[in-house]
């Protein structure tokens, strides 16, 4: 269990929005500020569930902070944190699969797309989201890490524990499927 924060902020009812951040260890705060966005995008890309993705981000930050002393610097801090985020998201995916006794009860990807996006005519995102959701979890992670986070093939391979040729193959397949989905939407 990580050490008690050095500066306790007081009772919960008296905490302002900024007080919890001041009460956290500086290293933990730095991790949260630097990597929460990227960890969320990766987790949401894998899980297609915003609430679960946020849970994964919280867990990732705690795991990263508690194992900071084991970070050897072989990769960038971002790659290291995203590796933890990927593993945490995959664990959540397996738990969700194990708990789903009826496949029909697992919500479709489209149901998890923010209704506000559909309301303002952003159904193109729904289509891309559907295609992304139809990929296997590893391919989804590769797409997010390359197309959104801009990681190199080697960094992606390190984060996911797979060979670079596999990263390239999966990425190209996924990219073509997603591009086709985006083109179909434009032609409507």
């Amino acid at each position: 269990m990580p050490a008690l924060p050095r500066h306790r902020s007081g009772r919960r009812a008296e905490r302002s929005r900024s007080e919890p951040r001041a009460a956290l260890d500086r290293h933990l705060t730095d991790l949260i500020d630097a990597h929460s966005d990227a960890a969320f995008r990766l987790a949401f890309g894998i899980l297609h569930d915003r609430h679960l993705a946020e849970d994964v981000v919280q867990e990732t930050m705690l795991r990263s902070w508690s194992s900071l002393d084991r970070f050897r610097g072989d990769s960038s801090e971002r790659t290291w944190v995203l590796r933890i985020a990927h593993n945490t998201a995959v664990d959540a995916l397996r738990r969700r699969r194990d708990h789903a006794t009826d496949p029909a009860k697992v919500p479709e990807v489209a149901d998890r797309i923010d209704p506000a996006d559909r309301a303002v005519g952003r159904d193109d995102l729904t289509r891309v989201g559907n295609v992304l959701g139809g990929l296997d979890a590893t391919s989804r992670a590769i797409v997010v890490l390359r197309e959104v986070e801009g990681l190199s093939y080697q960094e992606i391979a390190d984060a996911l524990g797979i060979p670079v040729p596999t990263v390239k193959t999966r990425l190209l397949r996924a990219r073509r499927a997603l591009q086709a989905a985006a083109r179909d939407e434009e032609e409507r």
Partner: protein
């Protein structure tokens, strides 16, 4: 040259199947590096919009993480301060009386309820 497309994504296993597609290592792609070199900014933009986190994600994560850490620390501190062992703590939490304080009604007692020896 005829453009070669990969396998239909609908034929790939679903996200929860746990079955990974066979790794062809790029066998079906003539020039995978060349194909990958073609950047698609619109795809990146669409994905970024699709996966956008809440605007206050850092605050929300910090709040929850802080609550988890403080809650765990309070629990640990309480156990240490009270000198409670796991058995006693379990009885305390379940509403039972720790063994040392329980009156043994099967033993002879004086008027004040103390056990006679």
């Amino acid at each position: 040259m005829t453009e070669h497309h990969g396998p239909d994504p609908e034929d790939l296993p679903g996200p929860d199947d746990g079955v990974e597609p066979p790794d062809e290592s790029g066998r079906e792609f003539f020039d995978i590096d060349g194909a990958l070199a073609e950047d698609d900014a619109s795809l990146a933009d669409a994905l970024r919009a699709l996966l956008q986190p809440p605007a206050d994600i850092e605050h929300r994560v910090a709040d929850t993480v802080s609550d988890r850490l403080v809650g765990g620390s309070v629990g640990s501190t309480l156990i240490d301060l009270l000198g409670l062992g796991p058995r006693t703590l379990g009885m305390f939490l379940s509403g039972g009386v720790p063994p040392a304080d329980r009156v043994r009604e099967d033993l002879p007692q004086d008027d004040e309820g103390a056990v006679r020896r």
